[in-house]
């Protein structure tokens, strides 16, 4: 990681993130969080900030395929890693099956938890294509939703899993 200093002595690091298949190189300070690089530098605002402490899951992205809270990851620590955000799921603007299942099952209300919720569900279905309802609930237990009571969210994930079959 290359380190640069500006005139005032503030240090910047050159990092490269592979986000949704594309490489981005940016100069960031040590205290820059991954969520802020995604939202502010790359304009990928589908990743939300809800609690900023890893309690709500709104900022969930996949880091090398694993769901993580991007609010608790230094951008420097993500250097060289592959990141998938909610914007990376749709192909040529066609929503992913899981995204469609959320829409069709009325699993979305305010929508603020939705991107993070879908990323957690995506990671689950990739790893475990035919989860039980309990496994679905466990996988999204780190994603709080204030609107839906999770009823239709669980239904949507289960239906997307069935469709994969």
């Amino acid at each position: 990681m290359q380190k640069i200093e500006d005139h005032s002595g503030t240090k910047y690091y050159l990092i490269t993130l592979k986000v949704n298949g594309d490489s981005y190189t940016r100069a960031v300070k040590a205290n820059t969080l991954l969520v802020n690089v995604l939202r502010e530098d790359l304009d990928l605002t589908g990743t939300k900030k809800g609690c900023e402490l890893g309690d709500c899951g709104s900022c969930t992205v996949l880091l090398d395929g694993k769901p993580v809270n991007s609010c608790l990851i230094l951008a420097l620590e993500a250097d060289g890693h592959e990141i998938t955000t909610i914007e990376g799921l749709a192909q040529n603007d066609k929503p992913d099956k899981l995204q469609e299942a959320f829409v069709e099952n009325a699993a979305i209300q305010c929508g603020y938890c939705t991107p993070g919720m879908i990323m957690s569900a995506k990671a689950l279905l990739t790893r475990n294509p035919h989860p039980t309802e309990g496994e679905v609930r466990e996988a999204i237990a780190g994603n709080l939703c204030r609107c839906t009571g999770y009823v239709n969210i669980v239904k949507a994930i289960m239906s997307a899993a069935e469709e994969q079959q």
């Binding site: 309690d55 829409v103 839906t148 009823v151």
Partner: protein, 767 residues
């Protein structure tokens, strides 16, 4: 229901679903404007202190800081959502009244600089004694928080209808119980956000709000500007639940900071600041006395309540009235007395949260009613059926209730939950409980005194008829109003939903509406939309009649086809008729406006609780208790709702799921706690425990047929009413399981554990 309709009554997917599922949906905090600054508010570290001096010079010197403002830079006009008590200023002037009170604000080039600048503002305080408990606050000699509220009494209510004392004398049984409800917070997932920028003497504010109108009104009032010079609009809103109806410090600060710097200013609350801003549910202390006949018929009720308002009033006076007003709706009785004192304390100000003021009184009353049923040896569900209000009646406090199917809801809930097989027959540790609730379908009167209509809608059909746009001031905050209102517009016009667009909640481009609160939009905004759609339909039929050489009465229009009722094969498309109209008469526009008739009585506070229509709901839930630890597991829940005609069943049932979820969280897990200095002790989502997917049981949501004559197509509310039965339903289920009554919310594991322990000790003593 819905069989005779083309567009309403159908579970179409919400129109913003794909945008939200793909991450394209932009919320206020996602927006970026060129040259934008970031603002932050400095909050008081003391619960009660006099401000001696504020020195902003060091903060101003920090590179990247563009403006620092305090009370000296802004109007001192007092505000509050309800004009009943205007007692808040943009920034504190002489003293701070709770930890988190607003002292100053900064705008800087980025968030980090803004935070650093806050630390450089020096405020000298003289710390004053503080009071955090309403009973303490009401005692003689307690610290006085506001000059205008001697004895810290913010609101005092004494209402008496009929003769309660006489009713108690005549009663076979009179019972008194005491309950309490805790402070909770809405905790929408999206933190509040506001962005302001000026062009000349006009300011635009993007805001995560439940009402663009009220924000526009209050900004205009406080800054002394014409409302027309203030444009308030919103993008997607990540949940509100009552927490985004009041104007916040973000809105006022962003406007001022943007004016000073000439640059757009974005301001956000972090999670803890949301708890400071609060406006969540009041803590309430509720004594209930009820007299009944031997058969369980309620003769009279006395509700004697105390409420902790926190520091500023906002909508709190209405909360206080609501707490008592709606107790009269569910069950029919002729004698009622309501006494309430709302005290101010040195804690964050409370306000309206889903079910506004009445979920806790419902918890109290429904728990109380179970006790009465037990005293009389009547099944708890049966005593509710005995007392359930009938349609076309008027409550003792003058609310006219036209449609009301509570009895049917109770009967259906009894069926689908298997009540008869379960009540008293479940294995040890398991229990089943029932609770009733309901709500207004829109408050009869706006938050401030005005003769404005409740809602206005305009529909504009595109020149060639290929598309139509609905303009409404109704606010989509996740509940689905954009989708539902479009369904209503399409139905009224006879037009396909797929061709409709919406421009909503923008004070410049859309129309007037008071916004998303008091469960008002489906009924009230819906009325305006229906009328606008019907005006379009009239114009289309008249024009088509001219084209087809018939009279309009011979025609109808559905799904974009205008046809002769007698010979449906003879038809024109909506598009060609609309285009003809455009050529002949100009733009095809329909407009609708809705204002309810005069509602309610004439006594003091008679307006609160009035509504064109009332929903009703029964919930039944089953719980399992760990008798050694007190741990509560909610096994399953059933909700049966009388919510009138349903426009979108899928969205409606989703509202019920969410309402039960929130009610369940408040019942068992959620409570805003404070440390000894009055600072929020759990202002995060780890310790303010909203239930996770693992905590949520299966919920069955069902309906009973009901059509309200005062509503468009007979609709009523659902989103708030469905939160109101939950707390008692779970408390009653715990009682059924273990024979212990938890009288204070939340019904924590520890409280259940303690009650069980005390019960065992008592039994031992007896033996």
């Amino acid at each position: 229901m819905g069989d005779n309709y083309e567009v309403i009554g159908k579970s179409v997917p919400r129109i913003d679903g794909v945008a939200k599922a793909t991450g394209r949906a932009k919320y206020t905090g996602d927006l970026k404007f060129p040259n934008m600054l970031v603002g932050k508010i400095l909050h008081s570290p003391h619960a009660h202190a006099r401000i001696l001096n504020i020195d902003t010079s060091e903060a101003e010197k920090l590179p990247g800081v563009k403006a620092v403002i305090t009370h000296r830079d802004v109007p001192s006009t007092k505000y509050g959502l309800s004009p009943a008590r205007w007692d808040e200023t943009i920034f504190c002037i002489d003293k701070v009244r709770f930890v988190g009170d607003k002292v100053a604000a900064v705008a800087a080039v980025d968030e980090e600089t803004a935070y650093k600048a806050l630390k450089l503002i020096k405020v000298d305080y003289e710390v004053l004694p503080a009071v955090f408990d309403p009973y303490e606050a009401l005692k003689e000699g307690a610290p006085q928080i506001f000059e205008e509220y001697p004895g810290n009494v913010n609101t005092e209510i004494h209402q008496h209808f009929g003769d309660v004392d006489k009713a108690f004398e005549e009663a076979y049984h009179v019972r008194r119980d005491f309950f309490s409800g805790q402070r909770t917070y809405h905790s929408p997932l999206e933190p509040h956000a506001s962005i302001a920028f000026w062009e000349g003497d006009k300011v635009t504010i993007y805001c995560s709000t439940q009402s663009v109108h009220y924000l526009q009104y209050h900004l205009a009032r406080v800054f002394g500007m014409p409302m027309g010079n203030i444009r308030v609009l919103k993008t997607h809103v990540g949940g509100g639940f009552g927490g985004k109806i009041d104007p916040t410090g973000l809105d006022f600060s962003a406007v001022k900071l943007s004016q000073i710097t000439g640059r757009p200013v974005k301001m956000l609350f972090d999670r803890k600041e949301m708890f400071y801003n609060n406006r969540g549910r009041h803590a309430q202390y509720m004594e209930l006395t009820t007299g009944v006949t031997k058969e369980g018929k309620i003769l009279g009720v006395h509700a004697n309540f105390v409420m902790d308002g926190g520091a500023y009033t906002g909508l709190g006076v209405a909360s206080a009235y609501y707490a008592g007003a709606l107790l009269t709706v569910l069950y029919d009785f002729d004698n009622y007395k309501f006494d309430m004192v709302r005290a101010v304390t040195n804690l964050p100000g409370c306000g309206a949260q889903r079910g506004h003021g009445q979920p806790q009184p419902r918890f109290a009353f429904e728990s109380h009613l179970d006790h009465i049923a037990e005293d009389l040896g009547i099944d708890p569900l049966e005593i509710r059926i005995i007392n359930a209000r009938k349609p076309k009646t008027v409550t003792i406090n003058d609310f006219r209730v036209d449609s009301y199917a509570l009895k049917e809801a109770l009967e259906k809930a009894r069926e689908i939950s298997g009540w008869r097989d379960k009540k008293g027959k479940l294995p040890p540790g398991r229990g089943i409980g029932v609770g009733n609730g309901g709500f207004v379908s829109g408050a009869g009167y706006p938050c401030y005194r005005t003769d404005l209509p409740q809602a206005v809608a305009i529909i504009k059909v595109h020149d060639d008829g290929s598309m139509a746009t609905l303009y409404t001031g109704a606010v989509e905050i996740g509940q689905g109003s954009d989708t539902v209102l479009l369904q209503m517009a399409a139905e009224a016009m006879g037009y396909p939903l797929e061709k409709m667009r919406i421009v909503a909640s923008d004070t410049d481009l859309a129309t007037h509406d008071f916004g998303a609160y008091a469960s008002r939009q489906t009924l009230m905004s819906g009325w305006a939309v229906k009328k606008a759609g019907e005006e379009i339909k009239d114009k289309i039929l008249k024009t088509a009649a001219e084209m087809m050489l018939v009279v309009p009465e011979q025609l109808d229009v559905k799904q974009g086809i205008v046809f002769l009722k007698a010979h449906p094969e003879e038809s024109l498309t909506f598009e060609e008729v609309a285009r003809t109209y455009f050529v002949k008469y100009g733009q095809l526009i329909g407009q609708g406006s809705y204002k309810p008739p005069k509602l309610g009585g004439t006594f003091k506070g008679a307006a609160v609780g009035t509504s064109p229509a009332y929903s009703a709901a029964t919930q039944v839930a089953e719980v399992e208790i760990d008798e050694e630890t007190g741990e509560i597991k909610v096994i399953e829940a059933w909700d049966v709702h009388d919510c009138g005609m349903v426009i979108n069943p899928a969205l409606l049932h989703a509202q019920v799921h969410g309402a039960f979820y929130m009610g369940m969280g408040e019942s068992i897990w959620e409570e805003v706690l404070f440390d000894e200095n009055g600072d929020v002790a759990n202002g995060n989502l780890a310790e303010y425990r909203m239930p996770t997917a693992l905590d949520m049981p299966p919920v069955t949501s069902e309906l009973v047929d009901s059509i309200d004559p005062n509503a468009p197509w007979g609709v009523k509310e659902v989103g708030e009413g469905a939160t109101t039965p939950t707390m008692a339903c779970l408390a009653n289920a715990i009682y059924d399981a273990m024979g212990v009554r938890i009288e204070s919310l939340p019904l924590t594991y520890e409280k259940v554990w303690r009650a069980l322990k005390e019960k065992r000790e008592k039994e031992k003593e007896k033996a």
